[in-house]
Amino acid sequence: MNSPFLLEAKNVKKYFPIKTGLFNRVVGQVKAVDDVSFGIRAGETFGLVGESGCGKSTLARVLLNLKNATDGEINFDGRNIAKVGTSELRKLREEMQIIFQDPYGSLNPRFLVKDIIGEPLRIHTKMSAKEIDDRVVELMQLVGLDVTRRNRYPHEFSGGQRQRIGIARAIALNPKFVVADEAVSALDVSVQSQVLNLLKKLQKELGLTYLFIAHGLNVVRHISDRIGVMYLGKMVEVAPTDELFSNPKHPYTKVLLSAIPQATPNRVRERIILEGDVPSPANPPSGCRFHTRCPFAQERCRVEEPKLESMGPDRQVACHFPL
């Protein structure tokens, strides 16, 4: 392999058509992900942050080939996932998995827990029912679920337990790469820490690679090795975690960091309050997409779109006037 990355996205775009009018004519496009390039190294956790609707989930879906990219190339383990055939895609599915945000919505309420966890095994392996059951027990123990309750329905479990079920399902086939899309956002703090610990433990034990999506920056900071910041479909900054927090280069990153209320009172923090709302991705501002809200915006930002450029080792930022 010549790429240092397990997964690499090159100029990935995902546009959703906006249809309207007579005969559902396409009148525009939501540029949910617009020309994003980055890579994730084997064994690392890559955090992805950004406000609601900025395209994080869409990017993740595209990476997993759950949605087709409009443009661009995605290489997983050296293979271009857009080009693989059906059977190889099945194989790929075993290696890349996803954990969802909503511990309620992501489990079929009418499936027993063992069926939920056993489903990938049923589909991808030729295991007998007995073997599947054994593996389910093993997985449940791994994620810390009471194995005696495998004959129950998901609604009988608490949020944290449900998220563990989702995790067990995701790792059932021993994947290399797992996307956690807001996997802890819906959980209460006390449960959130349980799940975060579990994810870390599994990473250590199974050598997983994570793409960790969240908007809670403290959580992302806790778990990630590197972080990408997205704004309106664009990757605006990529940096190792500590550097990002200590020295954000992109104004948006800075704003984001300052906006998060911290459970540490008395500390006087400089808080940047932005004006206005996030613009619509269907009609993004010209030039730098952040210029409409950027406290440091200048004339150039209005017209010229900044490219994601390298700023030292492992750091990239898309800003004409990085901080």
């Binding site: 998995q97 992501s106 589909i123 005696t148 609604h155 009988e156």
Partner: protein
């Protein structure tokens, strides 16, 4: 609101395990399958007096239809002209005989067969067809959906009673036609309903989860989603049973329904119309049968609906109101 029921169930589960994480050392002892949502629905259903009454009534009718042979010594098609128009109670004719001397009770029993078969088969066929079309339409969307939904539009835009009349007037009627025609003109509501559910369900995260682990579209439609869409389908099916029985009787009333020697409640009603002035009871019996069975089926449908509705408590509203008065300290 769903929390309520979830909460309840969680409690049942957590009680024995809440004290810390289970130790992996213990050999897993899988417990018995717990009560699923259906069981809960069942329980609520059983607490609903109307629904239970409906079920019992329907069962009685079904049994009567099945064991018609043993319930009456009379042949519904056999009449002795010498025994025509006997009043109820004569010579073992509980409800008397009609103008051809046929035992009315026997005819009612055998009518039950046809009317109920029509009800159930029409419901079955239209639910199966409707569900299939609705599921495919809703799940795939796009042009598949467009085509099917236009079809539904077309079908819905044709006055159905008219269509039924037309088809029956043209092709004549047999029980099997009747079932086909009624099913042919009643699957659309199911299709719409199921499509609606599928449009919602396909956005659920567990569908994406299923895709992510490589489940095929058909697997998702039938294995994963059908059971989630089943509640409204079942309710709709029960209601459709009643509707089909009524439609059949209406068509029979117009003289387009079941033909001798077959008989149905609607057919009996339409025959009895002639005797409305001399022997109104003859019209009363089949009319009441229709009324009672359709009522029963509706009760059952409502019972199922309430049972599956997590908002509905298993406790009767009356009792809740009483409690509320008792406990509340606040001003009114």
């Amino acid at each position: 609101m769903t929390d309520m029921i979830l909460e309840k169930a969680v409690s049942a589960g957590t009680r024995n395990t809440a004290q810390g994480t289970p130790s992996a050392a213990q050999p897993p002892v899988p417990e018995k399958r717990p009560p699923g949502p259906w069981k809960t629905a069942m329980k609520k259903f059983m607490h609903n007096p109307l629904a239970v009454t409906g079920l019992i009534i329907l069962l009685i009718f079904v049994l009567a239809a099945l064991f018609a042979k043993w319930l009456t010594p009379f042949d519904p098609t056999h009449g002795d002209l010498l025994d025509s128009s006997l009043p109820p109670g004569t010579d073992g004719h509980w409800l008397g005989t009609d103008e051809l001397g046929r035992d009315i009770f026997a005819r009612l029993l055998y009518s039950t067969r046809i009317s109920l078969s029509i009800g159930f088969l029409v419901a079955l066929v239209s639910v199966v067809v409707g569900s299939l079309i609705g599921a495919i339409s809703g799940y795939f969307g796009g042009w598949v959906d467009t085509i099917f939904m236009r079809l539904v539009d077309v079908m819905n835009s044709i006055p159905l009673l008219f269509l039924n009349i037309l088809i029956l007037a043209i092709f004549g009627s047999k029980v099997s036609y009747m079932i086909m025609i009624l099913a042919f003109t009643s699957w659309m509501s199911v299709a719409r309903l199921v499509r609606g559910s599928y449009l919602q369900l396909r956005e659920m995260q567990y569908v994406e989860a299923a895709k992510a682990i490589g489940v095929s579209s058909w697997g998702i439609i039938f294995r994963h989603l059908l059971r989630n869409a089943s509640a409204p389908i079942i309710v709709n099916a029960t209601l459709m049973v009643g509707a089909a029985i009524l439609s059949e009787s209406a068509l029979s009333f117009l003289g387009l329904g079941i033909q001798e020697p077959d008989t149905s409640w609607g057919k009996m009603l339409s025959n009895a119309q002639e005797f409305m002035l001399v022997d109104p009871l003859q019209a009363l019996y089949p009319g009441l049968c229709i009324l009672i069975v359709v009522l029963a089926v509706n009760f059952i449908g409502d019972g199922i609906r309430d049972g599956l509705d997590p908002k509905k408590s298993t406790i009767p509203q009356r009792r809740l109101d009483k409690w509320r008065k008792k406990f509340s300290k606040s001003g009114v």
